[in-house]
């Protein structure tokens, strides 16, 4: 989960990382009560980068200009999204601008400190100058000093920049973050440091143990909730495409593979839906049945859906459980639903399951290629029938 700039800065502040005096603006008229002296920077609070280039950051000298600028920014979509909040912030005279970040190095299975003397720009533009330090063992501040030196810092900046990095690392660790970034970290002519912009990405798997971050998630406008990956039953995500076959599958790899096979066989997908892996610790058979049924209901919402292909693999009980769930779903919607189903299941209970589904006129396959051929054939006949 990404945090907005002002939310990230709130966490910086709690951790003792210096930020400028700032104020949250929910409406242009809030600027009349501004407590920060002009000149002031107004910044669109959106989740995407590039807001500067898009016109989402403006410097203003007085209240009249500020209200006008705020109105403009509130009405300026950035990659399709409008800000719900602006941040009004004091201006700062930076002598130099640095880049600092702490991220997870997934391959090394360790946290990674990143830094560069070329802050303030797009990360992509400065990858060449980026210095890295892997936090190989338990963190200690010397890792931060190691980065400061690799960045080419000297004198008192070694210690002061390391101190900021140490606080970023503590935040990263305490809040289970995927990313904490300060860009730019301004250095004043006197050598003082100031986090001018910041980015925090919280780990979705860990949100359950950070109620403060989870509360921020609740505030995210619906328009961008699709950025959140499916985690529990209520968030199983339907991916919609332009064809007419719907795939309901369990497990990311099997879903991808089934999508590939349909495409390779000339089919076109209306949507696909991954019910998730089997490895959720609380997946009892009842939960699984519910999830299959909810998945089917979600699937039926896809546009252009003409055929549903169900491909579910798992332990010995899953075959019959899936057949039961499909049967229950169809019986419930008997009148409204005329979309044909092709079901592929495997297991000891295959014959039993076949009988159950045959009663509903549903073909059951244990060979995936055959099931796919049937689904495509059905989708073509539907097309021809048009």
């Amino acid at each position: 989960m990404d945090l907005l700039e002002y939310q990230a800065k709130q966490l910086f502040h709690e951790m003792g990382i210096p930020i400028l005096p700032s104020q949250q603006i929910n409406h242009p008229k809030d600027l009349k009560g501004l407590k920060i002296p002009y000149p002031v920077v107004l910044k669109s609070q959106v989740y995407t980068g590039g807001r500067g280039k898009a016109g989402g950051i403006r410097f203003v000298e007085n209240t009249i200009d500020a209200v006008a600028a705020a109105q403009t920014i509130f009405n300026l979509p950035i990659t399709g999204m409008y800000p719900a909040v602006l941040l009004a912030e004091a201006k700062y005279d930076a002598d130099r601008e640095l880049y600092l970040a702490v991220i997870l190095d997934w391959s090394a299975r360790r946290p990674l400190l990143l830094g560069s003397q070329q802050g303030g720009l797009d990360v992509e533009a400065t990858i060449g100058a980026m210095q890295q330090v892997i936090v190989d063992q338990e963190f200690s501040p010397f890792y931060a000093r190691r980065l400061a030196l690799k960045m080419g810092l000297q004198g008192e900046l070694i210690q002061s920049v390391s101190d900021i990095l140490e606080k970023m690392y503590q935040l990263f660790l305490q809040k289970d973050l995927d990313l904490v970034e300060i860009n730019p970290l301004a250095v004043s002519p006197a050598g003082e440091l100031m986090a001018l912009d910041g980015k925090i990405t919280a780990n979705d798997d860990a949100l359950g143990r950070h109620p403060d971050l989870a509360a921020l998630q609740a505030k995210i406008p619906n328009q961008i909730k699709t950025r959140i990956l499916p985690r529990d039953l209520s968030e199983t995500t339907l991916v919609e495409l332009e064809g007419n076959i719907g795939i309901l599958c369990n497990g990311a790899g099997l879903t991808m593979s089934t999508v590939d096979l349909v495409h390779q066989a000339g089919g076109r997908l209306a949507s696909f839906l991954n019910l998730g892996s089997e490895y959720r610790h609380n997946d009892s058979p009842a939960v699984l049945r519910d999830r299959i049924q909810q998945g089917l209901e979600l699937m039926m919402q896809s546009k252009n859906l003409k055929v549903v292909l169900v491909n579910i693999l798992g332990n010995v009980m899953l075959c019959k459980q899936t057949a039961e769930a499909i049967a229950t779903h169809l019986q419930r919607q008997l009148d409204s639903c005329t979309t044909p189903f092709v079901v592929r299941l495997v297991g000891d209970q295959f014959d039993e399951s076949r009988q159950m589904l045959q009663a509903l006129n549903l073909p059951l396959f244990d060979d995936l290629d055959e099931a796919i051929a049937e689904a495509i054939s059905l989708s073509n006949s539907v097309l021809r029938a048009k």
């Binding site: 990404d2 991220i103 997870l104 997934w106 391959s107 299975r109 360790r110 946290p111 990674l112 990143l114 990360v123 992509e124 990858i127 980026m130 890295q132 063992q137 338990e138 289970d176 995927d178 990313l179 990405t201 780990n203 798997d205 860990a206 359950g208 143990r209 950025r227 985690r231 495409l241 599958c249 369990n250 497990g251 990311a252 790899g253 099997l254 991808m256 593979s257 999508v259 590939d260 390779q264 998730g276 892996s277 089997e278 490895y279 959720r280 610790h281 609380n282 997946d283 009892s284 939960v287 579910i312 693999l313 798992g314 332990n315 010995v316 009980m317 495997v346 297991g347 995936l368 290629d369």
Partner: protein, 305 residues
Amino acid sequence: MNFTLESKVLVQGITEPLGSIYAPLMQTYSGQILAGISPGHGGQELEGIPIFDLVEQALFSVGTVDTSVIFVPPYQVLDAALEAIAAGIRQLIVVTEGVPPMDMMRLCRIAEASETLVVGPNCPGIIVPGQILLGTHPAEFYTPGKVGIVSRCGTLTYEVARELSQAGFGQSIALGIGSDRVIGSTFQQWLQILDEDEETEVIVLVGKIGSDSEEVAARYIIEAIDKPVVAYIAGRTLPQSQYTGHAGAVVSSQIAGLRDEVGTAKSKIAALKQAKVPVAERPSQLPDLLKQVLRGGTKSSPKKS
């Protein structure tokens, strides 16, 4: 690696929903589950498996154990794993999905220091067909043989195993290393183990788009693996933005200086081809590729035929 008929196994989280489903299935397969752990349930039984409150208590009662299969809730996985390590268990299989990366990083650091093999999390575990089941693999899909399957997927692993079994290619071992970004043992570690395993003649690597795991594995195959490897990568026809993993992963790869296209099917297949690993277009093509590489012998400097 010790995954044989002789292995002694513990199940942590045996009263959790997943644990109570799979522990009996594992026990049915080969009867090697000596005990289950579930704090507060000590003294109870699950289908004949005695339950203890604490790992060390179980070991005191049933003797040494080689492997623990962990089904506890995600935020308790680190603790369960550290408890097992503290009790001297050096092979852990974490089935549970959703373990926070920070916990896995800490677990990996401590596992490395204590030379503990951690499989998973978010994985189906290991099956040695005809010998031992340590996880969720549907045993009926597997037959004993000479193919080692190492996979980054769950259910897709079952699909691949089923195709191989039906085509007469039994398996020496099959395992899923876990679908999460931060996992214990990697493709490289398992390629090495299978390369040295006397029961394994050829390796099937099953991957999917997202992360740089397959690219790194391909590089490792060039450097260190002698036995023939064939691969299958799922997601080659997916719209690129889908399933290429978590935003953080992308940031991480980009910042880490990896080229943009890492994680795509194209990048993975190219890397594998460079390592002379044939890549199947679909699971059902794997048996043909296996026949080809086995006809061609080992990849290089054959150690045994």
